[in-house]
Amino acid sequence: MSIGTAPPATSELEATVRRMVDERLAEADRKRTRRKKIALIATKGTLDWAYPPLILASTAASLGWDAGIFFTFYGLNIIHKKKREELAIAPIANPAMPMPVPLPNLLGAIPGMTPFATFMMKRMFRTNGVASIRELTDVAIEAGAKLFPCGMTMQVFGYRADDLLAGCQPVCGAAAFLSYASDADVTLAF
């Protein structure tokens, strides 16, 4: 404070501090009471990559959060009526994939290995009580999660709105999803 400037009157200062404290308290209160929100992006169309966003969104919705997933690129297949049934997993270039016997990874290139690995993985999931992708997409919709289909990808891949699950949100683009995600508490991309 320069010497020439008179300090503000005590009452004025007090009023300013009081107002600032009130504003902070109101903000903290808003944060505490408002519904939490999770905004996810699903870009992959393989069986393994389909699970995490669906599990997180259906759980978040079960916790009472506002949950949304933007499905773009191959991720769109997860909410495609027909393709969600055909999601696959390729053993090639996936050294972490559990195998009944140790095999050189290159053998994953043999025709039939991808359907075989997919069959094995689905069976492993089923015997352990993991929900299928069909069940999880249905659950996510029932629980109130918002599934946003990317319009750009739909155009490029030649998908029509009625190729997608009925419970999806209207087809949208990046701006609409950003607007949805802008006040999210958790954001993740898969």
């Binding site: 939490k36 259906s58 759980t59 916790l63 352990n128 009580g129 993991v130 659950v139």
Partner: protein, 85 residues
């Protein structure tokens, strides 16, 4: 989180069986079942997912419903939760 008042209460009639299913199914079933209860009523949840103890506690914090009891017998987790709103 067990309170004396609640341990003496009669066991809830509604039982949600989430044995032999894994995440997120126990939490999804729990949520669906609690929505069918009147406010103030309780249900019992049985699960075998090893993550259920942490998950049901987090579910109670996030959803605002009350976790009345939580216990474990062998590989089974037992919970009593009450719908609060």
């Amino acid at each position: 989180m067990t309170t004396e008042q609640n341990t003496v209460a009669t066991a809830p009639a509604r039982v949600v069986d989430a044995r032999n299913v894994l995440c997120p199914t126990p939490i999804v079933r729990l949520t669906a079942a609690i929505r069918e209860l009147p406010v103030g009523a309780s249900l019992r949840l049985i699960a075998t997912d090893p993550g259920s103890d942490a998950d049901v506690r987090a579910w109670a914090v996030e959803s605002g419903h009350e976790l009345v009891e939580a216990g474990r017998t062998g590989g089974e987790y037992h919970f009593v939760v009450r719908r609060t709103h």
